[in-house]
Every structure is written in C-alpha cells, then in structure tokens.
Assembly symmetry: none
Homo-oligomer: 197 residues x 4
Amino acid sequence: MTTTEDRRRQILAAAVRVFAAQGYEAARVGDVAKEAGVAYGLVYHYFGSKDAVLEAVFREQWGRLLSAVALAEETGETAPEQLELVVKIVLRAWRDDPNLVRLLVREITRSPHIQDELDEIGQAFASLERIVARGQDEGTLRADVDARMAAFMLYGALEEVLTGWVLGQLPDDADAVAAAEREVIGTLVGGLRRRAD
Amino acid sequence: MTTTEDRRRQILAAAVRVFAAQGYEAARVGDVAKEAGVAYGLVYHYFGSKDAVLEAVFREQWGRLLSAVALAEETGETAPEQLELVVKIVLRAWRDDPNLVRLLVREITRSPHIQDELDEIGQAFASLERIVARGQDEGTLRADVDARMAAFMLYGALEEVLTGWVLGQLPDDADAVAAAEREVIGTLVGGLRRRAD
Amino acid sequence: MTTTEDRRRQILAAAVRVFAAQGYEAARVGDVAKEAGVAYGLVYHYFGSKDAVLEAVFREQWGRLLSAVALAEETGETAPEQLELVVKIVLRAWRDDPNLVRLLVREITRSPHIQDELDEIGQAFASLERIVARGQDEGTLRADVDARMAAFMLYGALEEVLTGWVLGQLPDDADAVAAAEREVIGTLVGGLRRRAD
Amino acid sequence: MTTTEDRRRQILAAAVRVFAAQGYEAARVGDVAKEAGVAYGLVYHYFGSKDAVLEAVFREQWGRLLSAVALAEETGETAPEQLELVVKIVLRAWRDDPNLVRLLVREITRSPHIQDELDEIGQAFASLERIVARGQDEGTLRADVDARMAAFMLYGALEEVLTGWVLGQLPDDADAVAAAEREVIGTLVGGLRRRAD
DNA sequence: GATGAATGAGATTTCATTCAT
DNA sequence: AATGAATGAAATCTCATTCAT
C-alpha cells in the first residue's frame, strides 16, 4: 500500500543524490529517473517539472532540519545554549545525510528558482535572529552586533564547514566532526557571548 | 594600441556584469557579446568557450582580491590585526565592484569543473590558515581551534555577509557596510582571540 | 510493434537518401529528420550524433554488401568464377540501391575517422585477396601478381565504374549495366587469368 | 623578385599538404595559412576563397600530370605501350609528390565544388579513351570493351593502388612501387590486349 | 602587399516537456 | 499508474569571409 507515496519518496531520494552529485543545473531529469529506477515520464507524473522536484526536496527535507532548529528555539535554555544546540543539529545532519546537506548548502541560498516561494529558508534565519535578539535582551550575548548580521555569520560559518566536508577539504571522520562542533561553538558562539570586561 | 588586451578586458568586464545579473547558466554568450558591444564570434576569438570566460573571470579578477589578502600576510602586524585587515579588504571589495563579488559568491561553489584548476582559492585559505597558525604561536589567538577550520569559518562568515548584500537580505548602505566590518571583526576575530581567563 | 527498430531504419533510410543527394558534409541533420518525417531531436534519440548516423549506414548497409561478397567465397567454384560472382554482386548493388552505393562510393574514402573503426571494409579486401591467392594455388590465376595488389585493382576498377554511374559519366541503363558486367569480367578477371602461353 | 609568385606557390604548396592530411572539407583556411607561415588574410589576397585554392591546386598541379599523360598520347608507339607509359607516369607521380597525389585522388572525382568547372579531368579520361579506341582500331586492344569503360577501369585501378599507398595498406617502398608497375601493366593492360585466340 | 581582429550566418547538439499507449 | 518515444526551442560553437590598419 501507499505504493504511490513510496514512489514519490523513491524519486525524491534519487533526486537528492543526483542533484548533490552534479548540481541542480547540470543534472538531467533522465538522470534522476535512472537513479530512481523508474521511467522518464514518471518524474513528471509525480512532480510537474524539474523545478518542482527541487522545490519538493527543499520543502520536505529542509523542513526536517528546520523543525529541529525550531525546537531548539523552544527550549527553555539560555540563548548561547540554544545556539550551541543549533550548531550541533546542523553539523550532525551532515553525518545523517551528507547528500541532502550538500544539496541544501549548494543550492539553497543561490537558486533563483526557489527563493521567492520558500520562506522556510527565511524562517531559519529568522529563528537564529530571534535567538540572538533574545540573548541580547537577556544580557547573555553582546549587544553591539546586529542580530540579523550575527545570524548570517553563524550560518555562513556552518555552511563553509559543511562545504569543506563536501569537497573533502576538511577531515570528516567522527573525531573531526566532534572537534568541529566544539570549535565552531567556541569561536562563533564564544565570539557572540557577552564578556565581563 | 594594446587594442587586443583592451578588447579582452572589455569582454571580460561585460561577462562579469552579465553573469552577475543572470547567473552563469542562464546567461547566453550572445548576451555577453551584446553587453560588450562586439560580435558573437569575438568572444570565441578571445576565449575558447563559455566556460573559459568564467574561468578567466575567476582567475584574473578573483586574483586581484586574493593578492590583496596575500599582502595582508606580509604586514609586520600581529595576527589579529592581519585578520582584521583581511576582513576589511574583502568587505570593501563589495563596495568597489559589487557585480564581481556577486558573481564570485554565486558561482564559485557551483562550478565543480572550475574548482580543481583554481588553486588561487586554495591559496587564500592557506594564507588565512598561516595567519591563524602564526597567531597561535605568538599567543595572540586561542590554540584550541584547528587553524584550517578557523580559516573556513572566517571565510564562510564573510561570504555569507556578501551573499546577504548580493541578495538584498542585508542592508548595504555605507553605514551598514562600516558597521558590518566592526561586527565581523568583533565576533569572528574576537572569537578567535586568546583571552586572559 | 518493433516500432522502435522501424523508426531507426526509417531514419537510416532517409539518411542514405539525403547523404547520397547532398554529400555528408553538406547535408544537415534537419534535412535527414525532414526526409524521415520525424522531429529534429529524434535523430539524436536513435543515434548520438551526425557522425554516428553515417557510421551506422556504413556498418549496417555496407555490411549487407560485404556479406554477399563473403558468400561468394564459400562457393565451391573456381577462383575466376568466384571473382566473376563478386563483380556481379557489386555491380548489381547499384541497380538495387543506387543511393546507397552513391553514398558509399562518395564518402568512404573521405571519412578518415570512419575508416579505422570499420574493419568490414578490410574484410572485403581480405576476402578478395584470399580468393585470388587460392586461384594462384589452383593454377587458375596468374602467379606473378601480388594477391593483395590484385584485390586492390579489382576493387578500384569496380568502384570507379560505380562512380561513373553515380556521377552520370557512364551510361547506366539496363543494357549498359549488363555490358559493364561482361566487360569488367573480361578485362579484370581475364587479365588475372593464367594463360596457356 | 617574383616574390609575389613565390608567395602564391608557397600558399599552394601548404594547401596541398593540409588538404592531403585532413581532407578538403575538414581543413580550415587558418590551417593553410599557418602551414604556409603567412597571415590569415593573405590566403584571400591571392585566392578569392577556399574553393578557389582547391581549384588552383587542381588546375595547376593536376595539369602537370595531365600534360604528361597527353605526351604519352603523342608518342608514336602502339596503344598498349602508350597505356603502359600512362601507368608508369601516374604511379611515379606518387613517388615525386605523394601529398599532391593523395589530394587529387581523394578529392578530384568527388568534389561537387569543382567538377563542372574543371574539364581538365575530363580530358584525362578522354585521353585514355582515345588511346584505347585507337588501339581497338589498330587491332592491338580487344574490341569487345567500351573504350570509355576501359578508361574508367584503368583509372580506378590506379587510384585504388595509390589509395592503398596513401593509407599505408600497400607497401610503398621502391621495390614495391616497381613491382606494382609491372603488375598493373600485366593485369590491366594485359587484360585489354587482344589475344591471338 | 600584408596582417589578424572582427563578423555573423548556420550548423550541431541538448534536454525539459508532452503525449500516445 | 507507468512507460519511453517524440518534440522542438534554444543554446553553444565553427569558420569562411571581410575589412580597417
């Protein structure tokens, strides 16, 4: 049963692999179909267009990551602790599904196709921004940094670490991933912390 | 005179504008030619292919930025001061040539075929990494962060700020740019500084 | 049914007509598609490129002729009789499919990129060579001619007669074709025959 | 002095080499210029077009060969002896200028560009045809072969031997060339000879 | 005469999308 | 639901020819 829904997921998972490997523009619809082991036209049966496939990946998969981030915001902890949690969530997503993360990282900020329609992305930034703002109110984060700017820096640093892993320019074994977590937290979150001085 | 080299630059400058406005994939060679005010085939006279145009932009324009970064390394100042200089150089490049920065930011991650050949980028990372390592030796930067990882975080944060400007998600008036400089320096370089505690 | 294979043949047959009429270089892929009554891209669906279409013509159509030649070799007859059979087969191919012969004659020498891959042609020469060599062993053919050289002369004479027909420089009505058969046999095969003197 | 005429010959000689190596269609005008060591545009200064270059090669170089053939016709000897002379002239031309012969052989019969304008080629055939016809009148050549057909067969056999040399499929050392002469004469001219029977 | 940059028509090829089965 | 042949617009690239210097 749910064969229909299974097929959909099967194609979506294949799309993640193919888009991650070749980039969205370079990937052909036929590559996705072949990777999924289904007929050419079936991609169009389930999704209306190539764009729609990418959008579905973003909406459905990115959502998983974003809802995790949203959960971090709900925690009763202090802002720095919430930021730490966000860093951990994002970096660990790499371990769970590197292809997905690779795709999100590569295409998300840059896809003219998508941007307008997907405010989920904006929500991630908004979420980070809110956490920072709250921290500034609480007095746990330095107040001389624009909250939105802080969110961008944090996202950028995370993205680049992921990119380093994606492109094999940074070691990505378990130890390195664990160390990266500590280092990003120490540097970024540390850099945002308000100090006694 | 040097008409030949001028023509080359003329086409390259047009390519930067067109690629920045439309994205590399979406831009047609004819658009570049028209923007440069030359005939279709002349682009192929100077560059062998559309790809080669992009590569030339990367190699030649990106090089200008990177050599500026390299100069920062030559300064006799302390590592944190050198890092501050790098941040200023990169962020100010936006003011000087937004189209170029927009292009570099948008396409560099997307072009797998370019990346390999362009070690200039690798050199920028190496430069940053060396500065950080020296700072750790001097005792001016915290030693519990891998130098290469630190370079990635710094680069990523800078890139994302630029991206924010490119996509209009961050304010980019003169004041905002000046403030961004202070904030990135405060957060990132600050986060890497060794503390008395 | 077998619609797929039919379509392939349909395009191939159209290609033979178009290439024969205009020459390979002058013919456009669109001409082939139009002649076949199919869309532009379908040619690329079945064959990967314009070159591949020509190669397919050579391999598949030329093969039919060559296998006929190979059959001549299997006959139990004497070498001169086998050579006569070969002459008849080749000259009659003109009557059966002038366009094909026109194409083969015009393009085969011109296509250096094709030649290497097509050993079918080499096999035709080898076949002729073997027949001649056997005739020399049998004592039915003169022994003071290199067998391979004899094969080349025979092939060349046949090709030129076909070329004469193709280009309208030799009469090609039924009588002329019948006469040509006798004359080529009389001259070439006769010239190779061992004589009592 | 005659610098002008020298330049012309220099370009023509380069064209022979380039056309022979790549084929006329595949060769680019720039290749000819580079091979000649002159500027691109100079080819157009001396010859009006790419076609005109080929035509000049045919007219001027082919003429040398044809006039030699014409001389054979003037000899007072019998037809078979004249044919032998023609065979020798053609095969020895290979030794003198293989590239030229390669070009003539490859393109002459097949160039749609040229054919109409160049009746020199027709004259070669006409010359051969006349020799054969005279031989039939004299009673030295068999009368049951159409004279024009005989000319075609002879030309074709010669062409294929040359092609064999061109493509390296037949040995072309001095001994082989000498043997080829005897063999072609023995077979072709022998095949056309009238016999006592 | 000599140069080679400049032109642009025209060719091949790609690939998202449609649609008959 | 599933298939994959069929379509054709649109892109890249080639190269003979022109022309200003």
